[in-house]
Amino acid sequence: MGIVTNYFETCSIILFGVGFATLMFHRNLIKKIIGMNIMDTAVFLFFIAKGYISGKEAPIITNSYKGIEGYVNPVPTALMLTGIVVAVSTTAFALALTIKLHEKYGTIDLDEIIRMKGD
């Protein structure tokens, strides 16, 4: 039953699985990084879903203050902003390294890279 009602969580777990599978089964480095990103996204979704309370507004006061009960929990959202930043920087770093790798090895296929031994 939990799967149906907690569809945010279910979705994020599936997403995480997809990301992990991508990470595992693809030889291409770029695809691996994409998988990584999908995983991260899954976690963000999961986290933010924890803060979401259905029927409540986002904690942005547009008209009048509705009291604490009126808004969703803003903390996860705020945290995930940080998380996204971290993820982006990691991705950027990974991509930069990929470029370096391509420079040195001429390929981003990990299997091929493994076969090329040496410094």
Binding site: L29, K50, D119
Partner: protein, 487 residues
């Protein structure tokens, strides 16, 4: 006043890190780093003194007196670790002052010091913080920074190793973040103390969730701290990195994640909760496997630094072993092992870096007769190896001793055999280097006494580290007692 010292510590390092690109001069970058490290060492010592005399304290960054501000907690372990980290990194930075040019391209040296400062700042942050998400952020920063100090050498092997490290630890981070999300959904808090209060009351209602959280944390942090069999990245990364980086990574970085695991297992959760689950058995199993297989892998290595790196995996096995025992004594010994091993392993890495630099080869087989060419370096290396093997007084012995006692305390005698087996395996891979270095007719033929030895000022950091190591061993009981007050 002293309550601000932790914050000042982190800030000093960060500010230094961001000043360096402005200055962009190698010399100043180095001196600034030495200065910043010296400052945090002094401040850390102040913190330690205060903790000893007054007791542990909290520091609320941001919003004091609220439950959602970022909380830093400095207890006995934190203060000890912060002194340790500051001390070791100061010595490594001093060491790098003279030797970094040999390994890092000239134009990147200032960049290197930015990363060093940033790394240390994040490490200290992880130690101090009492907030889960805050520690996640610092963990990410430290991961990136340590990736940086590996890849800075700009060689094929480095890039390959870094990308492996990066991907692995990103997955680890993902798991950690997932776990944090879980725990947040259970408790609604991110502050460890508050989570603890909530979870201690309610954990029986969510047995599976607690287990999943524990597993996610264990695996996530395990990847980062090279728990067997998630260590795949470590030998590559640590052996290909520049020597000061290797020392820093092996000595400090991997330890800090293990410490985070301790915090989560025993501070967020508690001994009683954790002991009810099977997770400790898993940790102890993996720790033991790490101890044995890490050593066996080390025996088969042909490169010196790789061997020392595998030895790190084995030594992390001890830490996890201690954590897995699930008793205050075991965990305190694990922390003590972190301290002892940090000092020892960084010194060993610096020594081997020095030898590799002078000999010009990474191969162990090329290091024969090195004891004649650079006696002091090999003597220091030998001392470090003794600690690993477990010669009394040295910290390696002490941690084995107390770990074994902790095992017997919970009637698990068979675990002691694993500890001793691993120490014998240590003999097998450390001693050939020493023996072939000092002795053997063929080995010494044609070698000239002290022909490759370096000036004493380059050796000084290693000497200091070794001295510290002996002192850590000597005053082990005091350190352990102090650490134990945390539990």
């Amino acid at each position: 006043m002293y309550k601000y010292f932790p914050l000042i510590n982190v800030f000093v390092l960060m500010i230094t890190a961001f000043t360096i690109p402005i200055v962009r001069k190698k010399k100043i970058a180095r001196e600034l780093s030495i200065f910043s490290n010296a400052v945090i060492l002094i401040l850390s010592i102040f913190i330690l003194v205060n903790v000893i005399s007054i007791g542990d304290f909290h520091y609320k960054a941001g919003y004091p007196n609220t439950f959602f501000g970022i909380d830093w907690y400095i207890g006995s372990i934190e203060s000890v670790l912060s002194v340790l980290f500051a001390f070791v990194s100061l010595l490594i930075v001093i060491y790098s002052y003279k030797s970094i040019e040999h390994e890092v391209p000239n134009e990147k040296i200032d960049f290197y010091y930015i990363l060093l400062n940033l790394l240390l700042a994040s490490l200290l942050g992880i130690i101090y913080t009492n907030d889960l998400f805050n520690s996640y952020v610092f963990i990410e920063v430290s991961t990136l920074a340590s990736c940086g100090i590996i890849v800075i050498k700009d060689k094929k092997a480095n890039i390959k190793a870094t990308i492996k490290y990066l991907i692995m630890s990103t997955v680890g981070s993902g798991l950690i973040l997932m776990a944090i999300a879980y725990i947040y959904s259970l408790t609604g808090h991110l502050n460890m103390s508050l989570i603890h209060e909530v979870i201690i009351k309610n954990y029986t209602q969510y047995p599976n969730s607690v287990l999943i959280i524990l597993v996610l944390f264990t695996v996530g942090l395990g990847v980062k701290s090279a728990m067997f069999p998630l260590h795949g990245w470590l030998p590559d990364a640590h052996s290909s990195a520049p020597t000061p980086s290797s020392a820093l990574l092996s000595g400090l970085v991997i330890k800090v994640y293990a410490f985070t695991l301790i915090k989560i297992l025993y501070r967020v959760f508690s001994f009683s909760i954790v002991n009810e689950t099977i997770i400790l058995n898993v940790i102890i199993l993996l720790g033991s496997c790490g101890m044995i297989f890490g050593s066996i892998m080390a025996i088969t290595q042909k490169e010196l630094k790789r061997m020392v790196a595998y030895s790190s995996i084995a030594q992390m096995g001890y830490v996890f072993f201690g954590i897995g025992l699930g008793t205050p004594a075991g965990v305190a010994t694990a922390v003590f092992h972190i301290v002892g091993h940090a000092v020892t392993k960084s010194a060993l890495f610096l020594c081997s870096g020095l030898m590799i630099e002078k000999v010009g080869s990474k191969k162990i087989s090329d290091l024969k007769g090195i004891g004649k060419e650079m006696p002091l370096a090999l003597v220091l290396f030998t001392l470090g190896a003794f600690s690993m093997i477990g010669i009394p007084i040295l910290p390696g012995f002490i941690s084995k001793w107390y770990l074994s006692l902790a095992c017997i305390e919970i009637n698990r005698l068979s675990l002691v055999i694993i500890i001793l087996t691993s120490s014998i395996l240590n003999v097998i891979y450390y001693f050939p280097i020493i023996i072939n270095g000092f002795f053997g007719h063929e080995n010494l033929e044609g070698k000239v006494y002290k022909s490759k030895s370096v000036s004493i000022d380059r050796m000084l950091p290693i000497i200091f580290l070794m001295t510290a190591m002996v002192l850590v061993g000597g005053f082990s009981k005091n350190i352990l007692n102090f650490i134990s007050t945390a539990f």
